[in-house]
């Protein structure tokens, strides 16, 4: 697919999810409860390691419910899911969706901040979606975002919607939150969307090529951003080590003192005798005792 689609649907069973073939769509798993079925799905070894990109779409009410140790509970329940290598990220930071939040978004957002902080993240992306209005209430994702709900009162088919979407598309990096029509599997939707793309490409080859080029560029750019973050962290880490080496009484100083006291203060005749022992032990070449140009030590 030319754009990133987050395919939002309720949790299926682990076996049916695993049997779905890879479509390239990002699975947006709608989570209404964190219970046994949640754990059985996400912590099924086959689901955990299946390699398909996914993200969480938490129901607003789930986050709004009142109980003790909320931050602990959500962090420990969701932590390893965010750490999963297939979890959907932007610029290397995890993306979380909140559906139909009723309370003030700031409360929920504060909770999310606490959860991600608990897990050690410097940054994360959120998107509050009001499904009923097919609108985004609040987000920090700096992309061209769209919501399509095939279930809630859509008066046109997925195919028609996507064709007009492509025809009206301007060059920008898009992320589409897609609620599939009732009982449509992701593979069916994927083939429908794919057919529309093919039709559009045949009719508008240059526009399609331009959109594709833009998408590829955005992905390369994102990878560069991630690499820069990694290099920056690496540089910071090296700077810290160097700063540590510069202060007095460091390990280097201790090693240097150790060497001095253990070896350097010995008499010269003793050190020379030591070189002869090295030759007898086969650690040093005999000729090197008389000739500085020959190789001294064996590798």
């Amino acid at each position: 697919m030319i754009f990133d689609f987050i395919f939002l649907s309720k949790l299926s069973s682990a076996s049916s999810y695993n049997s779905e073939s890879e479509t390239g769509l990002i699975s947006g798993h709608i989570v209404e409860k964190i219970d046994g079925s949640f754990s059985r799905f996400f912590y099924d070894p086959l689901v955990f390691g299946n390699g398909k990109r996914f993200c969480l779409a938490l129901d607003g009410q789930l986050l709004e419910s009142d109980f003790d140790d909320k931050v602990n509970f959500f962090s420990e329940s969701l932590g390893s899911i965010f750490f999963n290598s297939s979890y959907f990220t932007l610029n290397g930071h995890p993306v979380i969706i909140v559906l139909n939040a009723r309370k003030k978004e700031t409360n929920t957002l504060d909770l999310l901040r606490d959860i991600f902080k608990y897990l050690g993240y410097d940054n994360f992306y959120y998107c509050f979606i009001n499904r009923f209005d097919q609108e985004i209430d609040s987000t920090n994702i700096d992309l061209d975002l769209h919501v399509f709900d095939g279930e809630e009162g859509a008066d046109h088919s997925t195919g028609n919607w996507y064709l007009s979407f492509l025809e009206e598309s301007k060059v920008s990096q898009k992320l589409i939150f897609f609620f599939p029509p009732h009982s449509n599997a992701s593979t069916d939707v994927h083939s429908e969307l794919n057919n529309v793309e093919k039709e559009f490409r045949e009719r508008n080859p240059r526009v399609f090529a331009l959109l594709q080029e833009q998408t590829n560029f955005a992905k390369r750019f994102e990878q560069c951003e991630i690499n820069i973050q990694g290099l920056r962290k690496d540089l910071e880490s090296r700077d810290e080590y160097i700063a540590n080496l510069n202060i007095p009484e460091t390990t280097l100083k201790r090693v240097s003192d150790f060497y001095y006291h253990e070896y350097e203060i010995l008499p010269l005749w003793y050190k020379r005798f030591g070189h002869l022992i090295k030759v007898f032990m086969g650690k040093r070449s005999f000729r090197s005792l008389f000739d500085d140009k020959v190789k001294k030590y064996k590798d």
């Binding site: 754990s39 912590y43 099924d44 070894p45 955990f48 390691g49 602990n72 962090s75 420990e76 932590g79 390893s80 750490f83 999963n84 290598s85 979890y87 290397g92 608990y118 897990l119 050690g120 993240y121 410097d122 991630i226 690499n227 820069i228 973050q229 990694g230 290099l231 962290k233 690496d234 910071e236 880490s237 090296r238 810290e240 080590y241 540590n244 080496l245 460091t250 390990t251 280097l252 090693v255």
Partner: protein, 240 residues
């Protein structure tokens, strides 16, 4: 016999040294969990290597929180949640210790626990005594506790005492493997971390690549507590 490896990868470039030795474990029934620090600029290369050489390996990316201890706790959390059954667990990371000129010699010594020739000896140590809970490098078996004053000769003295009390560890021996690379009976990990959530412990560790040469840290303290999981549950540490 089934094995579990929890490996943390942080440093750029030198990770192949660890992976090449981990390949020795493919002869055994072994589950690999790799935690890669995120962000990491050569991550794609690491992933490619893992996909090619450990295709069934479980891969997680976690932020640099708690250094190798944080990464290992993230890996242990995954192992517990996925209910991965094993007899022995290897706790390891791509150790470099750039702060010390002897860092690589330290690493090479600790990595003896994954040398092909050492592996049978390690497993026979576990077999020979039911009391052996951890096996690691004898050379780096350390003890900082001064029984006469009941204090640790460490910047982390206060934190260590706080955590021992909080974790209800009844210790008779304070030996630990400096460098935190060793084999441990998996039951010790499962029992302890089922009571003390790994991510909760991780959340209290210091963030980023914090250096702890001149001050006490939770990271430094947990490096020791990892080894004390054995003594705290009535087991011993054996050196090789």
């Amino acid at each position: 016999m089934s094995l579990l490896v929890v490996a943390h990868i942080y440093y750029p470039n030198d990770w192949e040294y660890l992976f090449e030795r981990l390949l020795n474990l493919k002869e055994y029934s072994c589950t690999f969990i790799f935690n890669i620090v995120n962000p990491k600029y050569d991550k794609e290369k690491v992933i490619q290597y893992i996909r090619n050489n450990f295709p069934a390996g479980i891969l997680i990316y976690s932020p640099n929180h708690g250094r190798d201890i944080g990464g290992k706790l993230a890996g242990i959390d995954v192992a517990l949640k996925l209910k991965i059954a094993s007899d022995f667990t290897l706790i390891i990371h791509d150790k470099q210790s750039p702060h010390t000129p002897t860092g690589l010699a330290w690493r090479n010594e600790l990595f003896r626990v994954i040398e092909k020739t050492e592996l049978p000896k390690i497993f026979s140590k576990f077999d020979s005594s039911e009391k052996v809970g951890i096996v690691g490098s004898q050379k780096f078996l350390m003890n900082e506790y001064d029984f006469s004053i009941g204090e640790f000769n460490s910047f982390s003295n206060e934190i260590l005492k706080e955590l021992i009390s909080e974790m209800n560890l009844n210790l008779t021996d304070y030996n630990f493997i400096a460098g935190n690379i060793f084999w441990i009976r998996s039951e010790l990990i499962t029992r302890f971390f089922s009571r003390h959530a790994p991510l909760k412990i991780r959340s209290r560790l210091e963030h980023g690549n914090v250096l702890d040469f001149h001050k006490g840290t939770y990271i430094h303290s947990w490096e020791r507590i990892f080894s004390w999981l054995a003594n705290g549950q009535g087991f011993e540490i054996a050196g090789i």
